[in-house]
Symmetry: C3
């Protein structure tokens, strides 16, 4: 069960080129994504209404898609516009389409009630495409429920253990208490780690002479949208002194594929060394390596939990944010179900 009235990232822009018919499963539903002649993306259910053949095996024809089993043709609104061998088109011959928009380099789909699909509510992912920022598109497929990944993002104490050799560097991160703020549709977390050693990848990028201050400031929405600003600066300087600091803006979108798998789209942009592409590449490689570490742990955890899903867990102080977050998700789901009932 997922929150449906929300924008979810379905693809990077470059995954859907002029002739592509991309198949993807989102919230348990198989859909296809393609572009009209003018480049506008279209999202349609991946099932011909005639005999259930997948439209992902279909052929793009102008703004339309033709099912390549018996040749039925659908326009971008999902209406059947051609049935080979017959002139009358059955009025029920249509496939479902979904609201879709592209913002910066992400294609977003709305799987819920189209009446509520307001693009103004899409998260601001400016750093993915911005003259002052550099990034590289990232994607991972996690074999785990989205909430286990949210748990991970809501408690950075794991950096000291899961990411000891990449993001971490010291148990100091685990020992510092973070500030947790409830927002309307998500949670904000600020974690300041004073006077610590730089993470291995920060040291490679920043060449700090000694110890550093690190900080993270991020929000996670109830539908898995994670936006973070994070920085490292030498202890000799003010926390917000940009000179010599490493500052990152990270956009991460968790889109449930099914109850047991999640699409993880990410961009980890830097606003320093803009002319040095190797900095962005190195930063990307470190983030991708760290996400592998998360994936390995979370997938293993998912298997353990699946054996005995109702067995109690023992909470600790660091779980505050994830406990609050999970309560908010349950609330949002309940509200959506209630709203459907009242229609």
């Amino acid at each position: 069960m997922f929150i449906r009235n929300a924008w979810y990232v379905v693809a990077w822009d470059f995954e859907v080129l002029a002739d592509t018919v991309l198949e993807r499963t989102v919230l348990g539903e198989s859909i296809v994504v393609y572009r009209k002649a003018d480049g506008e993306p279209v999202v349609m259910e991946n099932r011909c209404c005639h005999r259930g053949a997948p439209l992902s095996l279909g052929r793009k024809e102008g703004d339309c898609i033709r099912c390549m089993y018996h040749g039925m043709k659908f326009d971008a609104s999902g209406r059947c516009v051609e049935v080979p061998g017959q002139t009358l088109i059955p009025p029920k011959a249509k496939v479902r389409t979904y609201p879709v928009v592209q913002r910066t380099r992400w294609i977003w789909v709305w799987m819920g009630d189209p009446a509520h699909a307001d693009p103004a509510t899409i998260a601001d992912t400016f750093s993915i495409q911005h003259p002052k920022w550099r990034t590289k598109p990232g994607y991972k497929h996690f074999g785990a429920n989205v909430l286990l990944i949210c748990d991970n993002l809501l408690d950075f104490s794991h950096l000291a253990y899961v990411h000891e050799k990449t993001f971490g560097g010291s148990s100091a991160i685990a020992e510092v208490r973070h500030e947790v703020t409830k927002l309307d549709h998500g949670i904000r977390i600020v974690r300041k780690v004073p006077d610590t050693v730089p993470a291995p990848y920060h040291q490679r990028l920043g060449h700090f002479p000694g110890r550093v201050n690190r900080w993270f400031d991020y929000t996670l929405s109830v539908t898995g949208m994670f936006i973070m600003t994070a920085g490292v600066q030498s202890v000799d300087r003010a926390w917000d002194d940009p000179d010599g600091a490493l500052v990152f803006h990270s956009c991460q979108a968790l889109t449930p594929e099914t109850a047991d798998a999640t699409h993880y789209f990410f961009s980890h942009a830097n606003n320093f060394a803009l002319d040095d592409a190797t900095v962005t590449e190195a930063s990307y490689q470190s983030v991708a390596a760290a996400f592998e570490e998360d994936m390995r742990m979370i997938q293993a955890q998912a298997k353990v939990l699946a054996r005995d899903p109702d067995r109690p867990l023992v909470p600790i102080a660091a779980d505050l944010a994830l406990t609050q977050y999970r309560a908010m998700v349950v609330e949002a789901l309940a509200a959506e179900i209630e709203a459907r009932r009242n229609v």
Copy 2:
């Protein structure tokens, strides 16, 4: 659930040689096929009555088969004739056998009530072994329910899309209406496509100077036996003028393996260019390639339908034959269940 009182093809003759013990699953049951010393085929359930070991790991000994776990030996009627270390043979020690006959080069098994197993009802597959016809044995394993393959065979409009590059060549096939005739235990379909382009593989074999007439005349029995005569002739000549025509006789047997998989035995014989083996090989290759195209589409369709099996489909005019056919299958199944009840 399958119609059991019917002859199903279980194997090509060459799959069961003198010492072979072939395992195959038919209508969800695992069976073994072997030959007696005189070459007569035997079909037996693949389960020793003693401890359930598979007889497919057994050893042929004359007309008998010996289970190679604890050595029990069964004759061709399924009766146990030896228990190592004991002289008395338990009266219940027997395994089930099934009526079986070989016709032309196919071995047919009867999985239902043996009392009704009349070999006279076996379809005529003369072209598989005939001095005036040439063919090459074909087999494919489809990961889909048999009825989805029957649907495919009952609506050749798909040739224009699925087989665009092999059997098809033009959307004309989809646009022509076929004649559908209900038979006693199946459906006959005649489709005449006048003044069209030859299919790519017809052009390779027939070197037609220009446009052609094409025709298909076939029956599909309720138990998945497909027999077709099909032809192509230049538009300049009469439809039935054999001179320069390409005429094919096709025998295709769909044997359910399980509810989700089907054995597809096929032969696509030609009665022209009898001395040119490359013609038969080329024809076989084209058919095999086309069946790959069908398989890809049907298996994908099966996955889509399995997600939501009860969701309605939107019928079109071309579905007439498959709708009639599916009704006949349901009727035949119901009659068989009723007959079992009355025993």
Copy 3:
């Protein structure tokens, strides 16, 4: 359902070195095995009590293990001794541990009520580590329920068929009747095969001039512990004449992994040709090859039985031991369930 109040072999000694954290599933439960600084083995459930992360991804720290997700640290008794970022340790923060001992080269775990875990009841596996015996550690993973393997061990008539080319050599083994004796917690079987041909591997090791006497004397406990002495001697000599005889002491431990899979630990020791390592290697290779033969047959049998688990089997005289044995297992299970109820 398994007998829990019993010692099961969980690993060979060399599988758990100083820094190893070994994951293994026993009786359907995932556990980890590691060693304290003094070498004593520890067995713990493979699930951190905090968020369910697997301790098999954890890190050994002295006698403790640290979960590498959020850093909780557990001592060898399963008690949590550190929660990063918090001084108070929740009283419920502990993971289950299991009684464990090492004997000769096997590590044994007790998955049942710790109050009953008496190491004095562990089977005597002296030949695994003894100056007068030579052996090589063996392990196989069987994709079948443990009882199907016990069946196999309780009727050596299968040697003539399954192991025709390795252990068998003649149907004489199947034709001889064995003596079956009920013990307190198992069954003893003695099978004497007089005046027969040597098994192929005996002939390779023993170079007998002609026919031989063979004998097997073994016990199988209700929890799958198999201990056997077996021998071969020329027919010209007394059965118990050690001169020129081949005598083996075999320890085989069947530990259920799940209802459908079994760990098979084995040692097949010889007490002759002590200075010739090739004899032990050859003997090991023959046993390992024979166990492959068993595995292939038993896994195939398991699949056949799984299709229709309730279908009756036809007993023969050779099934006496396995029938008695299965009754004892049911009795032991029932007693254990009854005992748990009375607590």
